[in-house]
Assembly symmetry: C2
Homo-oligomer: 346 residues x 2
DNA sequence: GCCCTAAATGTTATCGTTAACGCCTTTCCG
DNA sequence: CGGAAAGGCGTTAACGATAACATTTAGGGC
């Protein structure tokens, strides 16, 4: 079965081994090698072993460019994201990467510098040019939705995370529910109403949290204080906190994320207001630092990694199952009560 | 110049346009189209315009798989990283992504689940299989160094970030200097010595910070307290802080990152020690939250994004310039003094 | 004008894989 | 035991771009 020994030399040639080399060494055709790699059952155990051995000996690895040229699949998923420095997006990205790896796909990331339609369109275009097999969008700016969709070629499956785009499957955490839990928790503690430091208005998460907060207040017939606007940063929370401390009427503050809550805590502390004795403060996200703030922060825990994983599951279903876009899924968050909230001083 | 009209139909066929289609429409050969795209100056303005117009009309885009098959370059850089949920790595990754995008490359990310040699080797292998043109390693675990290097095919340029691997160009922040600045700052405030909550021993950053701290203490002839070990998390800082609070002798604590510093602050607060009146605390990293902790944290600012950018610059030099590995570069960090440190109570 | 050289363009081969199809064995049944 | 059906492999042709070489065109000096 073995051919002329001279052909078998495993001499380190400059070029990497290709299928033909493996085939020659194993005494079969390159097509058989391909079959061993793609549908092992279709080749007899005997020859399969020989081929596998040859592959091992030569240290052969398939050329992915050649594969994707002919199969029209790159085994790569594209992720469009905005600020992966924030804890939430970073965690979701992490979940995505792990899930993607498990599925045998690679991840190509396009990070938006600014959340503009133009940047988004370019990013999608770049990923599509790389012929990714699917796309995950973690760019929670609602305003960009249309741009994305317009730029999308119809045949690439897409899943949006934390962003309901028309006609695109999405995975998200129930922001409205989370905000409700927070607000109701504070009302239950006896607070007359709850002030809110919201996130940027072009983020869908921020809007969802506002909605939940509003709904809870209205259902309980409470006055709705004017909302303060932050940009997710501790600094913006600090500025908002200063305003709240100045007017002195707030006894309960719901910040739309933990970083802003930290800023609020800082501002209140500087103004001489005690938390939770004078003012209760709640955050959102449950970043690892939340439990160690002063005081430990009551917040809402979001299963970021699970969201990332889930988005990949859905995406792969669409890609491999060829199914029509599956149902969007919404994951519930959980309220984590710590020491930054207490019943209102009477 | 224009051929048979029937051939020109821009009818939406199922398949995407290829170079040949553009060529036909422009009345040139596919090779001329290729030239227009790759070396525009080599084709006459007149024909170039025609080709460009045809490209526009057809919405033509080059097939990257075909390109990389023949050029043996994928225009993709691979990044191996460990925990991108941490602020530092996330920021560097961000810098890398932006710089890579600017250079017209794509980024493929392989995220290590655990910092083991096996996982690292697999990750590198996966990226190499995708035929990335270069590799950035943001995996500061020294123990894995050998594994990486062994798994590396000799011909893929590599740059390591925050990790000095033998024979690999690296970019890093001067951790030793940063730790020195911290320690000297505290000694200058009159503290007898400085306690240290270090990071995991397999992280090179953690070791660098220990070295700087030790050096500063020794140069000043101070006693070296036993170091406490954390894992970068606020929780581990909290545990360390409890120990420090218990023995009551510490007046100055240098935590190896801001999250652990937060934990230390929390533990001291619970133990009734005031910061900075009773104990001074310093962190490292200058995360955006540091300025809003209670009290605002004195820390060391690291130019993470710049490190990321720089690593790409170097990598691209090696790839495109074909240069031998350039000099490794070390970037100095800066001490940021806030309110968590003060002169020792006398 | 003619020839020579350089610039502009075209032709053909090639990258390394999978798809499509065909041939030769087996195998199994009547 | 003949023949059909299936299984196992081989041969050849894509895939869509660039490389290498061949050819045509343009320009300039005499």
């Amino acid at each position: 079965m073995v051919k002329d020994p001279s052909e078998l030399s495993v001499a380190k040639s400059r070029r990497l081994p290709v299928m033909g080399d493996v085939a020659r060494l194993a005494g079969v055709s390159h097509m058989t090698v391909s079959r061993v790699l793609n549908e092992p059952e279709s080749v007899r155990p005997n020859t399969r072993e020989r081929v596998l051995l040859a592959i091992e000996q030569l240290g052969y690895r398939r050329n992915s460019a050649a594969r994707s040229l002919v199969t029209r699949r790159s085994q790569t998923l594209g992720v469009v994201c905005f600020d992966t420095t924030l804890y939430g997006p970073a965690s979701m990205l992490n979940g995505i990467e792990h899930a993607t790896e498990d599925a045998g796909y690679a991840v190509s990331v396009a990070s938006l510098r600014r959340p503009t339609a133009e940047a988004a369109t370019q990013a999608v275009q770049r990923l599509v040019d790389q012929s990714v097999d699917g796309l995950v969008l973690i760019a929670p700016q609602a305003a960009e939705a249309m741009a994305f969709v317009r730029a999308l070629p119809t045949d690439v499956p897409v899943v949006a995370v934390e962003n309901a785009l028309p006609n695109v499957t999405s995975v998200s955490v129930d922001q409205v529910l989370g905000a409700r839990l927070v607000t109701e928790h504070l009302l239950a503690l006896g607070h007359e109403t709850v002030h809110h430091v919201r996130g940027p208005s072009d983020w869908s998460e921020a809007n969802g949290r506002v909605d939940g907060w509003l709904a809870a207040l209205e259902e309980n017939g409470r006055a709705v204080p004017r909302e303060l606007v932050g940009d997710w940063s501790a600094k913006s929370g600090y500025v908002a906190g200063q305003k709240l401390a100045r007017d002195r009427r707030a006894t309960a503050v719901f910040a739309a994320n933990d970083s802003m809550a930290l800023g609020v805590l800082r501002a209140l502390h500087e103004a001489g207001a005690r938390v939770p004795e004078d003012v209760s403060v709640v955050g959102f996200d449950d970043i690892p630092e939340a439990a160690f703030m002063t005081p430990p922060l009551t917040t809402v825990s979001q299963p970021f990694r699970d969201v990332g994983r889930r988005s990949i599951e859905i995406l792969l279903d669409e890609i491999e199952g060829g199914e029509e876009r599956g149902a969007s899924s919404v994951i519930p968050p959980e309220l984590v009560i710590r020491n930054s909230t207490s019943s209102r001083r009477t």
